[in-house]
């Protein structure tokens, strides 16, 4: 009973202290802020992703036989250009390479019976060169590359790395009013 009385007294003192503190703090805040109105709106957005993949990224040439690689737009936004960083190893001899693209699959080294469209210039051994195609690619679209060697006398490795830079290689910006 004594303990209960003691606790009640402590609680009363504590409550009084809290009340005093509240009285001391609240008036200045209320005086400074007055009434405040708020309104809330919610909007959800998602960003696109961009990039292309090449089905074959490393080609080893021991003869002058063409090799192909399929390029896919694996992003969520259409493209207006694609870049390839092409590295040629440093074998004996003086091999050179050219890259061509076609909108359809290559058949017997021909693009719809033609040569296709050359991308960039002639690539020499022991070099890394960035070449760029300005072909538009839809989302999930495909392009067909063909690397055509010349004067290969020793095993030569050609490595292809795709690069898509924003915003210059993405479709034109779109303004949506909703």
């Amino acid at each position: 009973m004594k303990d209960l009385t003691h606790r009640t007294a402590c609680r009363t003192v504590a409550s009084a202290a809290v009340l005093l503190l509240g009285v001391a703090i609240v008036p200045p805040l209320a005086g400074a802020a007055g009434l405040r109105g708020t309104a809330v709106g919610n909007e959800s957005v998602t960003s696109a992703s961009w990039g292309v993949t090449a089905s074959v990224t490393t080609m080893t040439f021991t003869t002058n036989t063409d090799q192909t690689s399929n390029v896919t737009n694996n992003g969520t936004v259409a493209l207006v250009a694609e870049s390839y960083s092409v590295t040629v190893s440093n074998p004996a001899g003086t091999p050179t390479f050219k890259a061509f693209q076609c909108a359809v699959a290559w058949v017997s080294t021909k693009c719809s019976g033609g040569a296709g469209t050359q991308v960039g210039g002639t690539l020499s051994k022991n070099s890394t060169t960035t070449i760029t195609s300005t072909t538009a690619m839809a989302v999930s679209g495909l392009l067909y590359l063909q690397v055509e060697p010349a004067t290969v006398t020793a095993s030569t490795v050609v490595t292809i790395s795709t690069k898509i830079a924003a915003p210059s290689q993405l479709r034109a910006a779109v303004k949506t009013n909703q």
Binding site: V40, G41, N42, V45, S47, G51, T162, A165, P167, T176
Partner: protein
Amino acid sequence: MSKHHHAVSKGGAGYGKIAVAGLLATSVGLLATAGVYAGLSATATGSESVTSGTLNMTLTADGTSSGFSTFTPKMAPGDSDNVYVNINNTGTLASAAGMTLAVAGSPLNALTNGSVAGEGLTLTATQCSVTWTVATGVCSGTTTSILANTQLSALSTATALSNVPALVAATGQLAHVQFSLGLVATETSTNGVAPGSTIQGLTAALTFTFTEQQRTGVVTNQ
């Protein structure tokens, strides 16, 4: 023993008489005093009626806009998501000149937190003197910038909007505001893979919180 008891009883009765007499005297005194104080009394009554004002703000879609909602297309760098909203002063009090806007993103990611330098969402707010033509995004009246193009990461804390005159003037006013969300990015993806720190392929639920203050207090003498 009995004698002693009698003496004691007799003495107690004497004290009792004295006590009763004292109480009577005191009561008479008190009553007399109270009578003096209660005798005169005067009251006056005045009535004053007051009603407190309200400070309310609501958001509604402007024109044919759907207002704040979900932007379904995936935003590419340079894209704009323009939303048209009325900020309505629906209370009975005018607001003060200042109004703030804070934008919170959930979940926190590179679209809104500035973790990829120079990239992420941006926001511009423009007021039109009349309803916006949503289909074209054109204001046929006069436009006033209330927020210059700002990285959303800079709006995580309440930021003052400028020039919101329609809401300041009086109650019942509204402001026709275009909120233009943009995306800035300068990333290069290699072999179909985004860089380690990227704004690509992210979703953010944005909460726009507008806050207004009441007009300055008025002293009325009447």
